[in-house]
Subunit: 206 residues, 2 copies
């Protein structure tokens, strides 16, 4: 028996991943960045292949990871997690600097950044596992790194319960991962338009 | 420039990894267990090759991960993190049950366990990266998973400062990872006897 709620007990951080197509830069939010070896310093990053970042990373092999801290607002996750970089400039209006590899890193709501260069990429269906060598790393401030659990409890907006006088018109489902709300019946093959998680990650709230 | 303190900002959980040599079971503490894909459910685990568990995992390919919670005492980390399973029975005196694959999982100080079967193993010098398919998973309780940061701040004993009337006799170094104390000069090639981290992870406290 595989109980999905057991899987939710694993701990993750949240990170902004910056990549480039050679001209324009792209950013997305990822939850899995881990140090693999200390000497040489290598990190592992998982990227959903539905994200434009996966395609760019396979093409250019360089990226930055900005370690998000607990001050990161929901708008940041919405802008970088749920909007495709294919059509929009996600960096408009934010505060960024450029590291030696020419890529942006976040200076607000981040406490460190790591620049790295992909050495291996392994395909696993929906996701690619990238192993990368660290080329640059800097601590920006002492603030606490945000965990996925903190995001769930303190940053993600709570689903609105219908007011007593309102008559609920249709069933309502909320994505437990990102907070996306879906009204009406939820098909089994539904994919969250924001975070790409499947119907099994939705819960019925109405 | 690679600033080591930037790397410490990545978030990790803490897990007991159970393996077997076919007869006797072995356990060790790891900090990197992440879900890679949801369908099929696959997890990734990094194991230091200095740990007996890495050898067993390459041989038998099956393991359990117990997700430790915030109630886990320092003794548990000491017993499973810092003592080699080659010579001792680490499970003596603890509370465990057995999952369908025949391996132990922890029932105290753990909120979930995951059983998995290795599908790929990639060698990266000091560490092996294992990709594994989940065969069983169960939530045990609702307690909060312990993070590496929580362990550092609340579980690991603080180094004892010398009392005012005592004259410090030698310099003293503490491993920032596990808390091991070393007295006297610290050679550049020093390896922590408990957690196998290098001299660069020690800080001088005296």
């Amino acid at each position: 028996m595989i109980d999905n709620t057991a899987m939710y007990k694993l701990s993750y951080g949240l990170y902004m991943l910056t990549t480039t197509d050679g001209q324009k830069q792209n950013g997305c939010i990822v939850n899995t960045v881990s140090m693999l070896t200390d000497n040489p310093k290598r990190v592992v990053v998982f990227v959903n292949n539905a994200n434009y970042s996966a395609e760019l990373l396979k093409k250019t092999g360089i990226f930055n990871v900005s370690v998000l801290d607990e001050s990161a607002p929901f708008e940041l996750f919405k802008q970088f997690g749920f909007v495709s970089g294919r059509d929009t400039d996600k960096f408009a209006g934010g505060r960024y600097e450029t590291s030696a590899n020419g890529l942006y890193y976040l200076t607000d709501h981040a406490n460190a950044y790591i620049s790295a260069k992909v050495v291996d990429a392994f395909e696993y269906g929906t996701h690619t596992l990238f192993v990368a060598e660290v080329t640059e790393a800097e601590k920006l401030q002492d603030s606490k790194s945000v965990t996925y659990e903190y995001y769930q409890q303190n940053i993600k907006p709570k689903p609105q319960a219908p007011k007593a006088e309102e008559k609920p018109t249709a069933e309502k489902w909320v994505c437990k991962v990102c907070g996306y709300e879906h009204e009406g019946e939820l098909p089994d093959d539904f994919i969250c338009p924001w975070c790409k998680h499947p119907a099994s990650d939705f819960e019925k709230v109405n």
